[in-house]
Symmetry: C2
Subunit: 303 residues, 2 copies
C-alpha cells in the first residue's frame, strides 16, 4: 500500500514517523511544506522538512517538541557574541545539517535532491520531498501588517491575529520532481494533523498539487490537529476561530473544501458531525507507539 | 608609539597579544595574512585572522595551539553524518564567527569591514586588518603537484616538500583600506615569528605593501620563528632547509631580503651572525607573560 502524506512540521512529523513504522519500507512518501523556510545567519533552514527528517530518524527532541535531542547551542551563542542575528534558535547539531544543505543549494543542487541525500544519509527508505524546489514563502496578513512566517511565528511569538495568508511565489512554483508521480501512484493520501493554514495550504498552493488531490482515484483522509477544539501546539485554534468561525471538526474539514473522504478526530471532539465521515480515535501522539496507533487508524480510514 | 605587526596565525597571534598588552590602547595595528583563507562547508574561514582575534581577546586554546578554548565539535560531527565535508576542523564556537562573517561577505561587506566589526564586538582597541579584501590564495609547488594551502597543510599534513609558492590573485590584489595608512603612520614595523613563506610573503605579495616596507622611515624588526634551528610548530624548518639551504638566523633574514633592521632570535640560535644585527632573547611564548616579554624586547629593538 503506497501512501502519500502531506505534512507540516511537528505534528505532521509525528504521524510521518508512525506511518513510516507501520508501512512497508519505501511505501511512504512525505510531501513537506516549504512555506516556513528561511535564511538565518546565511543558512537555508527548512524547519518542516527537518522536523519530519528528525522524527523519521528518531533524532528529534520529544520533550522540547522541535529540533534534535541532545542538542547544544554553542555556535548560536558565539554568533550572537560576534554581533550576528540570534532570534532564531539553531542548535549545533541542527546547524551541521543546515551547513550541508546550504552548501549544496549554493552549488545549484535543488532542494529536493539534497533532501533525498539527507534522507539517504539517515538510512531511511521513506521518501521526503519538498512541495516545490522553487521559492515559496508564507506571509501572514495581520492587524500589525503583512509579516513573513518566521517573524510572525518566532520573533513575535504568533501573538498577532491572522486575517489571511499569502503564499509568495506559489503561483510560479512547480511541484518538486516526484511529487505528482507519488500522488498519481498512491493507494491512499493522508493530510497530517498540521495547521491547515500555514502547513498544508502552502503545499496545496503549488499548481498541480491541489488538482492532483481533487482528481484522485483513491481516498484522502486528514487527521484533525485539534484535541477538544484546541491546538496541541501553536496558534491554530485562534486562527480557526477568527478565519473559519469555530474549532469543531467541521471547521477543519472546511479548510480542505472537497478534498477529504474522511477526517480522523480526537475523542474529545466527537461526535463532530460535518460534511465528511469522521473516525474517532485518540489522536494525541505522546510517543512513537501512539503515533503508530494513529497511523493504523488513519490507514484503515483511507482503505 | 604606533606599531604595525605583519602576522600569520598561531606564532604571530601570540606576539600580537603580547604587543597588544604592552602598547597603549589603539597603538597596534595587525596586518593579517589571508593566503590561508578557505571555503569549507560553505563558510568563509580566515584561519590567520581568527587566530589573531582569538589570541587578542584571550579566547584561544593555548594547549591545542589553534581555535578556541572550551570548544565543542557537534556541528561538524553532524555535518559529517549528513554527508558533508569533514576534513577541516571547525568547532561550534568557531563556526559562530564563520557564520557571521560569511553572511556579511555574501551581503557584499568587505573582509576588512567585517573583521573590524568582529574586533569591535570583542571590545578590542587594537586594529586587525587583512592584507587585502581581494581574493589571494597560497598554493604550494610540491613534487606531488601544486596544492592549495589547506589541502597541503591540513588534508595532507604538510608532508609534501615545498619547492616554491604561488600567491594566486596577489598581482591584482589591493591592500585593504587602512593597511598602507597604518604602515605610513607607524613608528615601528614588526614582522611576527610566523612562517615567512606561507604567512608573511603572501602579505608582502600584495602590491604596495613590500614597497611601503622598503621605503619606510622607521625601523623594521622581525622575530625569528625558529628555536634552535627548529620550527616551534609546523613545517618551516623543512621548508627553509630545502628552499634556503639552512635554518640559521641568516636564512630567516634572507627571507626578508633588505627589509629588516634587526632580527630577534632565540638564545638557542645565538650568536647568529648575518647581514642584520640580532637581538638575543627567550622567544618561546609559552604563555601571555612570555609574549609580553618578547613584545618588549622587540619594541626595544625597533626603537
Amino acid at each position: 500500500m503506497k501512501v502519500v502524506l502531506l505534512s507540516g512540521g511537528v505534528g505532521g512529523a509525528k504521524l510521518a514517523a508512525g506511518l513510516h513504522d507501520v508501512l512497508d519500507p519505501g511505501a511512504l512518501t512525505v510531501i513537506g511544506n516549504v512555506g516556513d523556510d528561511l535564511e538565518v545567519l546565511g543558512l537555508h533552514v527548512s524547519p518542516d522538512l527537518d522536523s519530519v527528517l528528525y522524527a523519521l530518524a528518531g533524532l528529534n527532541d520529544g520533550e522540547r517538541g522541535w529540533g534534535r535531542a541532545g542538542e547544544t547551542w554553542n555556535a548560536l551563542a558565539s554568533a550572537r557574541a560576534w554581533g550576528g542575528e540570534g532570534w532564531f534558535m539553531l542548535g549545533d547539531l541542527d546547524i551541521g545539517l543546515h551547513l550541508v544543505r546550504s552548501q549544496a543549494l549554493r552549488a545549484g543542487e535543488p532542494l529536493s535532491a539534497v533532501t533525498a541525500r539527507l534522507v539517504e544519509a539517515a538510512g531511511l527508505a521513506t521518501r521526503l520531498v519538498p512541495a516545490s524546489d522553487d521559492r515559496l514563502r508564507t506571509f501572514l496578513v495581520t492587524p500589525a501588517g503583512t509579516l513573513p512566517f518566521q517573524e510572525w511565528f518566532v520573533a513575535r511569538g504568533h501573538r498577532d491575529e491572522v486575517d489571511a495568508l499569502v503564499f509568495e511565489g506559489a503561483r510560479e512554483a512547480r511541484p518538486a520532481p516526484g511529487v505528482l508521480d507519488a500522488l498519481a501512484a498512491a493507494d491512499a493520501i493522508v493530510i497530517a494533523p498540521s495547521n491547515p493554514y500555514v502547513s498544508i495550504h502552502p503545499i496545496l498552493a503549488v499548481p498541480g498539487i491541489r488538482e492532483a488531490l481533487a482528481t484522485r482515484a483513491v481516498r484522502c483522509v486528514a487527521v484533525s490537529p485539534l484535541v477538544g477544539g484546541r491546538a496541541v501546539r501553536g496558534p491554530l485554534d485562534r486562527m480557526l476561530t477568527r478565519m473559519a468561525g469555530g474549532t469543531t471538526p467541521a471547521h477543519v474539514t472546511n479548510c480542505y473544501e472537497d478534498l477529504l473522504d474522511a477526517l480522523v478526530i480526537d475523542r474529545a471532539d466527537a461526535p463532530g458531525a460535518g460534511e465528511v465521515p469522521v473516525v474517532v480515535a485518540d489522536t494525541l501522539m505522546t510517543d512513537r507507539e501512539a503515533a503508530r496507533r494513529v497511523a493504523l487508524t488513519t490507514l484503515e480510514a483511507a482503505s
